[in-house]
């Protein structure tokens, strides 16, 4: 050391490299930079998460909220003074429950729960899942609420519940249908077998015999009808039903229907009226003739079936690029409760009706499926005890056009 007195002297005077007065500034500056970086990172992370985040005190005063929270509740950062956490709670919520959750969080118990909040601006309800924790923020005990928007999820949940109910209803309907169809098949079958048995009896008169045979024929037709309908429905359900287009002269088609049903109507004492008909009108529709036929047959058959007096009217008008067909009766009508269900497969008006009128409940379902395929729409207006009016539309040409009401 003795040789270097000069060097030491400089340092003693305070001219050495480290000979300044003690200063915390460099270390503090580093720490401040470190803290600022970490704060910025934290804010970036907070603003990147897809859940809304609130930091608020025990009075509900909001100290910080992330971007998602600003979007979800439509609060901007400079409006923090105007609102508290209570402003985003639905009026339905139980505050005592919320305060208990806050207290738990402060005692270190995290709660995750479903809650109902509202948007500040629109007051629209926002179902959410909330996770609440507690921390120290600028020396104060605060709560951190992470809020996940459950709107979509709630919707899915509701859809799922609805789908399940539908599936259950469908299942129930199928069971009811099976029971019904068994009955519907057994009745004509009993007729066939029973009257075939009677035919074996000796000494039958010609009249008796031809009467029995007529009943067997009628029962066979009824069964064939049911089986045809069943096959149609099964084709529709499996997507195998094809549409075959051709030009159909509407007038001819309606005439055919009229001639086909008029005897049956007269037999029942009903008048069947073709409305607005101009003989020789050659207006054409480009559609599937068989299906149009089936639609009209089903509707008129139903009208005759459920009508005990009065008249059945049918016809069509032109409505824009569509034809509007109608079948009106003065029958028993359909109750309000049942009107929505009548086009559903396997369903008929109601049980009382099922007992009174034969039928498998497939007709209107087939009608609706056909009209859907042909780009049209069907609806019904009815009053119980007064009568029903079925309307359906079909496009004049099916190319890219669909007829709705």
């Amino acid at each position: 050391m003795t040789e270097n007195w000069e060097k030491y002297r400089e340092k003693i005077i305070g001219l050495g490299e480290g000979s300044s007065r003690k200063s915390y500034y460099p270390e503090l500056q580093d720490k401040i930079n470190e803290l600022e970086t970490s704060k910025n990172n934290l804010l970036t992370i907070i603003n990147s998460i897809s859940d809304a985040l609130f930091i608020h005190d025990q009075s509900g005063k909001i100290l910080l909220l992330n971007k998602r929270a600003q979007e979800l509740y439509q609060i901007s950062e400079n409006e923090l003074d105007k609102f508290t956490i209570k402003d985003i709670n639905s009026i339905k919520v139980d505050y005592n429950q919320l305060y208990r959750i806050w207290e738990n969080a402060i005692n270190g118990i995290t709660s995750i729960f479903e809650w109902t909040t509202v948007s500040i601006k629109t007051h629209e309800e926002i179902p959410v899942q909330v996770s609440i924790n507690s921390t120290i923020w600028n020396g104060k005990v605060v709560l951190i609420a992470i809020v996940r928007d459950f709107t979509e999820r709630k919707k899915y949940e509701e859809d799922l519940i609805e789908a399940r109910m539908k599936a259950e209803e469908h299942d129930r309907l199928k069971s009811a249908f099976l029971a019904n169809i068994s009955h519907e098949i057994r009745t004509p079958m009993n007729g066939i077998l029973g009257f075939a048995e009677l035919l074996k009896l000796p000494n039958l008169t010609n009249d008796e015999m031809s009467g029995y045979i007529q009943i067997i024929e009628h029962s066979g037709e009824r069964m064939l009808n049911i089986i045809n309908n069943l096959m149609d429905i099964s084709k529709i359900e499996s997507g195998q039903m094809k549409v075959r287009y051709s030009d159909v002269i509407i007038e001819e088609q309606l005439n055919y229907i009229y001639q086909f049903f008029n005897p049956e109507a007269e037999k029942k004492g009903l008048s069947l009226l073709k409305i607005g008909s101009i003989p020789g009108n050659s207006m054409k529709i480009h559609t599937d003739q068989e299906k149009l036929n089936a639609i009209l047959i089903n509707l008129i058959k139903n009208a005759i079936k459920f009508c005990n007096q009065g008249a059945i009217e049918f016809g069509y008008t032109v409505s824009g690029k569509c034809f509007l067909f109608f079948v009106k009766d003065t029958g028993i009508g359909i109750s309000k409760e049942n009107i929505q269900n009548i086009f559903q497969r396997f369903l008929r008006g109601d049980h009382e009706m099922s007992a009174k009128y034969e039928g498998a409940g497939l007709g209107l379902a087939i009608v609706k499926a056909y009209i859907d395929m042909l780009g049209g729409k069907i609806w019904v207006e009815s009053k119980k005890g007064i009568g029903s009016q079925f309307f359906f539309t079909l496009p004049m040409t099916p190319v890219n056009s669909v007829c709705k009401e």
């Binding site: 050391m1 003795t2 007195w5 000069e6 030491y8 002297r9 340092k11 003693i12 005077i13 305070g14 001219l15 050495g16 490299e17 480290g18 000979s19 300044s20 007065r21 003690k22 200063s23 915390y24 270390e27």
Partner: protein
């Protein structure tokens, strides 16, 4: 035309001093300063002597009043030892302190500095021996001196006893200058007459050495000469009237002036020799300085004669018409008489120093950085001679 006497010091110099409050009851602002410096928990460093006074309780109350926690570390002996420093650091860390307050004399303040250095630099205290070796600043340090000599409360020095190697390590760094000194003359009243004499002479030797130091400056000279004047005219009275608060105040001021001077201009051979004595034989620092000062004046006189003559004039010694040798002898005689009047032993032999000790003492003393600023750079042989003459 400038005469030679009008020329001023133009070499680079620096002056560092802490913020200090001087005056009665200054000690009671301890709590306020702990608060201002960001104190959460204060380590109060003190010693057994101070525990017997009312000062500690008053300071504690002041800190409590500021709403700050504190703990007391009082295991500090005179000539504080390296292991005591390390124990103090453990205590500081265990209690999670963030600020240090020293209440005591030079030993306590040096110990507090040592604890501060180690607490932020995490190495043994002996690694900081020498000049300017502290890398990281220590925690805030507030000093309340209870003796009127050491001026560790304003200085860049910390003297720690290397207990196993039996020598005093000088740690010199601007970063050990405390942040705040609360200089309260009232606390000097707890010193007895011997301690009053020793610490007074310690301050005088600080002023002497700073004034003749080769690192002195115009500013340090101002303080050094005023300190010499104050001590010369007040120490004896204070020694004889321990409760006279005016003379205590003047001695406290003198100690502060001497401290500001030597902290910036540093010291010389009196201190390198005294550090060695204190470390090897654990002798009281002030008394050693008192005995050594006249002999070091003898050794240095030729290298700084103008300065010594100025000191003699300040002491109102009759110097007109005398040649340099005569002035030197007058000054030396005066110092010896001054010691005598204060009841201080005249020779080292009276303090049980043996002739055989001198080679060992000199080996240790020559390594002391105080030699660096002595007006005449000493070699080991010089120090042996001074020791022998001081026997």
């Amino acid at each position: 035309m400038n005469t030679n006497q009008d020329l001023i010091q133009l070499e680079l110099r620096k002056f560092v001093a802490p913020e200090y409050i001087f005056g009665l009851k200054a000690r009671l602002s301890a709590g306020n300063f702990c608060h201002q410096l960001g104190g959460r928990k204060v380590l109060i460093v003190t010693d057994a002597g101070v525990l017997r006074t009312p000062w500690l309780k008053e300071v504690e109350e002041s800190i409590i009043k500021s709403g700050i926690e504190h703990v007391v570390f009082s295991s500090v002996s005179p000539n504080p030892r390296d292991y005591e420093i390390m124990l103090g650091v453990d205590f500081y860390r265990e209690n999670n302190c963030n600020i240090i307050l020293a209440l005591g004399g030079g030993s306590v303040m040096d110990a507090a500095k040592g604890i501060g250095i180690v607490s932020t630099n995490h190495r043994h205290i002996s690694e900081f021996e020498g000049v300017d070796r502290i890398e990281r600043p220590m925690p805030p340090l507030i000093c309340i001196p209870t003796t009127g000599g050491t001026a560790a409360d304003v200085s860049q020095f910390a003297i720690i006893n290397n207990y196993s190697k039996k020598y005093k390590m000088a740690i010199i760094s601007k970063s050990v200058v405390p942040d705040v000194a609360l200089i309260d003359p009232e606390v000097l009243t707890s010193m007895d007459s011997f301690l009053t004499a020793c610490t007074g002479i310690d301050a005088l030797s600080h002023a002497f050495e700073a004034y003749v130091s080769n690192a002195s400056s115009a500013v340090t000279d101002l303080y050094a000469l005023e300190a010499i004047r104050l001590i010369h005219s007040n120490l004896l009275f204070s020694y004889q009237n321990l409760n006279d608060i005016q003379s205590r105040g003047k001695m406290m001021l003198a100690s502060l002036y001497a401290g500001l001077a030597f902290s910036n201009a540093s010291l010389g051979c009196v201190h390198s020799l005294a550090h060695s004595l204190g470390g090897y034989l654990d002798l009281p620092h002030g008394e050693c300085n008192a005995i050594l000062l006249p002999h070091v004046v003898d050794f240095n006189f030729k290298s700084a004669s103008e300065k010594y003559i100025q000191i003699a004039k300040t002491l109102n010694l009759p110097v007109s018409g005398l040649n340099n040798t005569q002035i030197k002898n007058t000054l030396i005689d005066h110092l010896k008489n001054f010691n005598h009047s204060l009841g201080i032993h005249s020779g080292l032999s009276d303090k049980n120093v043996k002739l055989d000790d001198i080679p060992i003492l000199s080996v240790k003393a020559i390594k002391d950085p105080c030699n660096a600023t002595n007006p005449k750079p000493p070699v080991k042989r010089d120090l042996e001679v001074i020791y022998s003459e001081a026997m």
